[in-house]
Amino acid sequence: MPDQSEAEENLRVIRSLIERATVYRAISAPTALVGGLLSIIATTVIFLNNATEYGIGDRITPREFTATWLVVLVITIALNAFLIRREAVRTGRPFISPAMKMALRAIVPCLVIPLMVTIWFFKVGYLGNQEQFLVVVWTGFYGLALLSTSVFAPRSLGVLGWAFLLTSIAIPVLDNLLDTDFSAEMPDLVMGATFGLFHLIYAVCTWSGRSAPGEAFREE
């Protein structure tokens, strides 16, 4: 008969075995598709407004730029939450499952700096037209957030994380190297390329074996 500490240890081992066997897909293919499309739309709207020769609207201010992307973020998060909840109801699992808690524990610390930088940008940063800095922080830390889940996430999410992280590093370098007519639009175009195009590619690549958001088994 095991003593108390042995029983506790056995329970801990069993739980960790179950957790390790679980793959948690924080972003499903449908969420990536919608998020990607919304990002492409946002990029196009901002680009066309800024291109004054089309006479569509006034140039987007730095605060409007940030607000637009926050709206895209909120819609995408809401959709992801809806899909996870629907899947949880279908499979009889709790919405906030242990695997979801595990994913949040990994992701949340990576989002603290982007959150603080965004608040700073709204208060002060917008005065210096620092959108590019904001975009570097957003893409870089989003990439880190995805990579932080790589222990229990499918490989595709890790690849997406690396794509974001490397792009974030490349933005200032490319901005110095390339002197094009689009330099002023660099932040907008980078957002379209990363949050738009990368997510669309991820959606297409993961759609065929479309796994539902949330928990699944690790394939062996």
Binding site: Q4, A7, I14, L17, A21, F217, R218
Partner: protein, 79 residues
């Protein structure tokens, strides 16, 4: 149940080897779990017939609930 919860599926022979149980003993346990809807099985023939077992969603929830109960018992004993 721990083995079944830790992997997507288990061939019968692997489960038997891992648990060190006899065929008859193991199949009796698996049949009971299947009857309760906790375990599903698939039969396929490759080189030879093979039956693989996996935990169902119902079985996973039941096992987690069981672990919670065990944890409560351990905690109560601690107090």
């Amino acid at each position: 149940m721990t083995l079944l919860a830790a992997r997507k599926s288990w061939p019968f022979q692997d489960l038997k080897a891992e648990l060190g149980m006899s065929d008859g003993n193991l199949i009796t346990h698996l049949r009971t779990l299947h009857r309760l809807g906790f375990v599903a099985y698939t039969k396929e023939v490759r080189d030879r017939p093979q039956t693989t077992y996996s935990l169902t969603a119902k079985g996973r929830i039941a096992f987690k609930d069981y672990l919670d109960v065990l944890e409560q018992i351990v905690k109560t004993g601690k107090k």
